[in-house]
């Protein structure tokens, strides 16, 4: 799957549905589908909310390669430089209602992914996330 979406929340939610359909067609297991959805939601929402502080229009590219034994997600955006790996993990356990615990979504995304890479080039930010689904008919140990 390859999608280019504007930096708007409504397009993010449509992209999440597209991604889930792609994962379903590839027969990726349910747990991994939920993991991909979560990482994609957290990263895309974060980019839309914070990546374009000047309010300009931007483009986010989403590439999703899905197999039953490996899923690779690549996100590119033309927002301001932002390396999710450089963000301090939130102070946990903490009461999320008492204060705005920053970086909660990014912490979830990093915790759930099997691999997480960031690079910045002339086109903008590039994040590659890997997941390890459970292949069907895996022999029971």
């Amino acid at each position: 799957m390859r999608l280019c979406i504007p930096n708007r929340l409504e397009d993010v939610f449509q992209a999440l549905e597209h991604a889930d359909t792609t994962l379903g067609r590839a027969e990726v297991d349910d747990a991994c589908r939920a993991d991909v959805r979560l990482v994609l939601e957290e990263l895309l929402v974060n980019t839309v909310r914070h990546g374009y502080p000047d309010g300009r229009r931007g483009t986010i590219e989403i590439k999703l390669e899905a197999r039953t034994d490996a899923v690779r997600l690549e996100l590119r955006d033309d927002g301001q430089p932002f390396n999710p790996l450089e963000q301090e993990p939130p102070d946990l356990p903490g009461d999320l209602a008492d204060r705005e615990v920053g970086g909660l979504g990014l912490h979830l995304a990093r915790s759930i992914a099997s691999g997480f890479e960031y690079a910045r080039d002339a086109r903008g930010n590039r994040v590659v996330v890997r997941f390890d689904p459970s292949p069907p008919d895996e022999p029971t140990p």
Partner: protein
């Protein structure tokens, strides 16, 4: 995926809310709005039970909604108990460590037992 919220309030002391679907960046504001109508119906010091057996997905936006709900109930001397979270929701709770283990129950029987225990402690029985 959308979110469906149902509520039954057999007593003002205890109200149960069933969540079905996804509690995420797309649905949390509707959820917050619905809960603004429901929580005042629970007495101060009462118990709000969130039945999560049909909630199959939560993200950080949903976590914040649940945290705010817990805080509102706590500020009124009440409590929020979570029932039967499913694998994805449980996984997110575990990573964030934001929900005390003693407020999450696998079954209604376990939850009833906990509330009975509290009631007995309050009335000095048992």
């Amino acid at each position: 995926m959308t979110l469906i919220v149902r509520n039954e309030s057999p007593t003002p002391e205890r109200s149960t809310v069933w969540l079905e679907g996804s509690l995420d960046a797309n649905s949390f504001s509707d959820f917050d709005e619905t809960m603004r109508d429901i929580t005042p119906l629970v007495d101060n010091g009462g118990t709000l039970v969130l039945d999560l057996s049909q909630l199959n997905y939560i993200s950080s936006a949903g976590l914040r909604s649940l945290a705010q709900l817990r805080k509102q109930m706590h500020d009124r001397g009440g409590r929020t108990l979570l029932l039967n979270p499913q694998p994805q929701v449980k996984k997110v709770f575990d990573i964030v460590k934001a929900v005390p283990v003693k407020e999450v129950f696998a079954s209604i029987a376990e939850l009833d037992q906990y509330l009975d225990h509290i009631q007995r402690s309050v009335t000095g029985q048992g």
